[in-house]
């Protein structure tokens, strides 16, 4: 990972903090997560490699969570307004969804702190994937 200056650290750390806020907002409305992270991603597109790398990792990890949350969201809607009923499969899914959101939440806080201190953090799967798509 490239060396970063204080400004870059702060900016990259803020990206994670931003995605932290939208995770909370985005739980009921998952599309907000993705929208916010895409906006952040594009606004940092021409930034330094350090900032771009972290905004890409934040975006990729958000996409996974958005897919998981969207399924949960539409399933819930079909129960509330449609013909579906609450089953063990549904409750199991919602708990799994919360567990993965919690994991994402913790990882994002950790990333924000470490990045602010100039340390690099590479998430499981999303880190190597970011290496693949984000070139210096």
């Amino acid at each position: 990972m490239v060396v970063s200056n204080d400004f870059e650290r702060e900016r990259a750390s803020n990206i994670y903090l931003m995605s932290l806020v939208v995770v909370l907002v985005g739980l009921p409305l998952p599309i907000l997560n993705l929208l916010a992270t895409i906006i952040v991603y594009f606004s940092n597109k021409n930034s330094t490699f350090f900032v771009r790398w972290h905004s890409t990792q934040a975006l990729l990890s958000q996409i996974f969570i958005v897919v998981v949350n969207s399924v949960g969201f539409s399933w819930t809607l079909s129960i509330v307004f449609g013909n579906e009923v609450v089953t063990n499969l549904y409750i199991g899914y919602i708990i799994t969804l919360f567990l993965f959101n919690l994991l994402e939440f913790i990882a994002t806080i950790k990333a924000a702190i470490l990045v602010r201190n100039g340390k690099n953090i590479s998430f499981w799967f999303f880190g190597p994937l970011t290496d693949l798509v984000c070139k210096p």
Binding site: N88, G92, F125, L129
Partner: protein
Amino acid sequence: MQKIINQFLVLLLAFFLAWFLLSQIPFVSRDSMEKLSKKTEKKLGDLIVKSLESQGQKIYSAPLSQILDSIKQKICSRNSFDSLNIKIHVIDKTDINAFALPGDNLVIYSGLINYAKNADELAGVMAHEIAHIEKNHVTKKLLKEIGLAMLMTIAGGDAGPEIAKEVLRTLSSTGFDRKQEREADKIAAESMAKAGFDPTSLANFFFRLAQSDGNLPAGLEWITTHPDTNDRAAEILEIKKNLAFKPEVCIHTPWDDVKKLLGNHSK
């Protein structure tokens, strides 16, 4: 690249494994959430029927019951429906309404029989309501609108007759959702054709209801619980195009004479 694929597979595996394991915990009893037990449904249905009977409006006419049973029998037996034990209750009310109750009960108001122009129209409405019973729509609707706890209380006999009346009101005056109504229409058209009733009659019944919409006669309940009648009638005619249908005479009593059987009881 292989590392990324492996990590992705591990991530997916972790997700599905967590979901699978958590789904094994019996948060809700499958039987209770998707379907009330047959015993509870029967108890609930009996209570509501009792509530209807206590209002002194049930019509007890053996020839009429025989005619309605023969229509029901034909629809059920020709379609291998598990509803041969459906009990039909004719209620002396001028409202044009029919609805299914839990425990395989089907309620038809005398107003609807009077409004029907022939036996096939009545058979269409009956086939539609039988489809709701077949597809367990009644219980699903009650679970959604009234809740499992309340239904168990009613079935357990701990609730007063007022609550049974409330369930009756829910079933008689509110419709099913659009998807369930269309599913019931489709099944009704198919089962009518198999039983030798003309599905066009159900479409005609809908068209007449839609036409009456502007000048709604008092107590035209069935249209308020069955919206989009024009569209649905058109859909039934579309479905009919693909159905092999051979008309059969189910009842030999002239339709006006059938209506007269209500006479002594109808207002």
